[in-house]
């Protein structure tokens, strides 16, 4: 394909030599990472390792001091703002579940739908059959069909996590960034979430940040361990968890 010629990399997401510091504190330090299309990657690492800051950089919330961040091999993300990046097809789930609490579950999904997001488009928006079918489908996927008319604020913690994942699905991005999807979930919920992510991965590229090693193990994907803003180890979960440095700084002996 001719497109290949203009691409600097085949990776869906490509970070190279990224630095960022806040008031002298180096949050991200020479971080390099590549995510292939269709891949699911788990990111682990101790608190303060720079996981969330990395997501902030990818989604345009934080601008790196230096380094390259390429999406789909062509787009330099460091020059774009959040909205533009979202429009390109990068979706994000926050560490703390962030849904629109004073709106219904269904409206949350409606807002997330990947349709015209301009002022004019929303002002003159009319619901279509295709849209409501999409929403029904997502509701089913995240098991919130019964709660469709409830306010998102009244959902339980786990349901909010799912709703947020559901919003990602509705958004239908090329790349999903999922920050601690199972924090505060029961074992059953954790398991279901893993299944859900695997299901989603069939059609999407995913980057998951998680502390829960059981969950990461269940995902069974390539793992990257971050420490002090840089990559400490990369490989299968077994490779990484047997790495001396990883054990020292993160897993503990």
């Amino acid at each position: 394909m001719n497109v290949m010629d203009t691409r600097a990399t085949s990776a869906m997401l490509y970070l190279d030599g990224v630095h960022v510091s806040f008031d002298g504190f180096h949050a991200i330090n020479n971080l390099s990472l590549a995510l292939e299309p269709g891949e699911m990657r788990a990111i682990i690492g101790p608190n303060g390792a720079g996981k969330t800051t990395m997501m902030d950089i990818i989604t345009g919330k934080t601008k790196p001091d230096e380094g390259t961040v390429l999406f789909d091999g062509v787009t330099d993300l460091t020059r774009l703002d959040e909205t533009r990046i979202a429009e390109l097809g990068i979706g994000r789930k926050f560490q703390k579940p962030t849904v629109f609490e004073s709106q219904t579950v269904q409206d949350n999904l409606l807002l997330a739908l990947n349709v015209d997001h301009s002022v004019k488009g929303t002002l003159f928006w009319r619901g279509s059959k295709a849209e409501s079918e999409r929403i029904d489908k997502v509701l089913e996927t995240i098991r919130l069909t019964d709660a469709r008319n409830r306010l998102a604020g009244s959902l339980s913690h786990g349901q909010k996590q799912w709703l947020e994942i559901g919003m990602l699905l509705a958004q239908d991005p090329k790349l999903l960034l999922v920050d601690e999807p199972v924090a505060g979930m029961t074992d059953v919920e954790t398991h279901l979430t893993a299944e859900l992510l695997k299901e989603i991965n069939k059609t999407h590229t995913i980057m998951v940040v998680e502390h829960d090693m059981t969950f990461v193990r269940e995902l069974g994907v390539k793992v990257t361990c971050l420490h002090e803003g840089t990559v400490l180890a990369e490989g299968t979960i077994d490779q990484v968890s047997s790495n001396e440095r990883v054990i020292e700084v993160y897993l503990g002996r």
Binding site: A86, F100, V119, W125, S154, S156
Partner: protein, 389 residues
């Protein structure tokens, strides 16, 4: 505005509100004009003018509720847009005076004559035509709001920072309009109007018509607000209010939304000001005072933020209280009462009058439905696990 948007925006509560406003807008002027003065049901002209003022305030309150209640933009400078609309109308009314000014100058308003202006400043060109003035009523506040908003929202100035700079904006305008060199009448402002579109502003018929027109404007503003907030755009606004950065990550251009609604709101405030001026007979820089804008926000809070009807109601209730308290034996204590009202409403009715009423109604409704609904599973959180297909 397409018909489906209108019908969608109307539920029964809104319809009743509109009916009440429309009834007032028709019956009060009729009663004032047709019934004999002094009869029990006749509304005296004094009250028509007073109510007209309240209605204009209600439009301003709606404008504030649209941005504050639905989009979380707390503007402490909305009085500026109101005043600018008022000035645009006032300038038209000044130009209408013509040779009837005290100096009889056909072109220059009186204050320019005694400040030795030799010719009309360019800022006053065109204001002798009503259509131009009417355009300016929308355009000047709208343009200011657009420029201000474009700067502020693009740089993501939010929360209290935004509130404070809106206050700085209205304060700067206050100082500017106070300056006689600015060419808008300085502290005395614009006054001593004669007629509007050829009708004497002081005639009872004109007053009644202005009142009816204000009610019409209130209805129109309300419909616009309802249309906006009940469209998908309204949901986006609420989304921005509740979780701004989430909205960005969903791909909404937050600054465009804010800019749209802020500009719309400013235009509405401008219309309110334009209707206000011929009814009270004066426009003066004190309308720019930051205190006025804060007070307008308080009307919305008293009535109920994010309810539209509440905003309009709050404006009327607070101003009625002000009228009532500033006369008679209560006059020396009215600030105590007004102050206490603000404190008590924030403490005891954080959702405002209408908001509290709604909450109470929803609660009783929920109780009733809870008795009949068996299924409570959804409320407890996790349902029986089912595999996604």
């Amino acid at each position: 505005m397409t018909p489906h948007m209108l019908t969608r925006s109307l539920d029964r509560g809104a319809a009743i509100f509109l009916a009440v406003v429309a009834a007032c807008g028709i019956l009060i002027p009729l009663s004032n004009l047709l019934l004999p003065a002094g009869s029990f049901l006749q509304v005296p002209t004094y009250l028509v003018a007073l109510w007209g003022k309240y209605v204009c305030y209600a439009i301003l309150a709606l404008a504030i509720d649209l941005i504050w209640g639905y989009c979380g933009i707390l503007s402490l400078g909305h009085g500026a847009f109101f005043a600018l609309g008022g000035y645009a109308m006032g300038m038209y009314l000044m130009r209408q005076i013509g040779t009837r000014g005290v100096y009889g100058n056909p072109i220059l308003p009186d204050f320019m004559v005694f400040l030795n202006y030799s010719k009309l400043p360019w800022t006053w060109y065109g204001f002798d035509m009503f259509w131009f003035a009417a355009l300016m009523v929308l355009l000047v506040p709208g343009l200011l709001a657009f420029c201000f908003g474009w700067l502020a929202f693009r740089s993501r100035v939010t929360g209290v920072y935004l509130s404070i700079i809106t206050q700085a904006m209205t304060y700067a305008l206050l100082l500017a309009f106070f300056r006689n060199d600015f060419g808008f009448g300085g502290n005395n402002g614009l006054t001593d109007f004669k007629d509007i579109l050829g009708f004497n502003v002081q005639a009872e018929g004109t007053r009644a018509a202005l009142f009816a027109l204000s009610c019409l404007a209130l209805i129109a503003s309300f419909l616009i607000c309802r249309t906006v907030v009940s469209s998908k755009l309204g949901k986006v606004l609420i989304a921005i209010r509740d979780a701004e950065s989430r909205s960005r990550f969903l791909g909404y251009r937050v600054e465009s939304y804010k800019l749209f609604v802020f500009t719309l709101s400013a235009c509405m405030a401008g219309v309110a000001g334009a209707l206000y001026v011929p009814q009270v007979g004066i426009i003066n820089p004190s309308e720019f005072a930051p205190g006025n804008s804060i007070e307008a926000v308080i009307w919305v809070a008293v009535g109920g933020r994010g309810t539209l009807v509440g905003a309009a109601l709050g404006a009327i209730v607070v101003n009625y209280a002000k009228t009532f308290f500033t006369s008679g034996v209560l006059a020396p204590y009215w600030l105590f009462m007004l102050g206490a009202l603000f404190i008590l409403v924030t403490l005891l009715l954080p959702k405002g009058i209408v908001g509290t009423f709604n909450a109470w109604r929803d609660q009783s409704k929920e109780k009733r439905s809870a008795l009949t609904t068996v299924s409570a599973a959804a409320e407890d959180g996790v349902t029986e696990p089912k595999m996604a297909e």
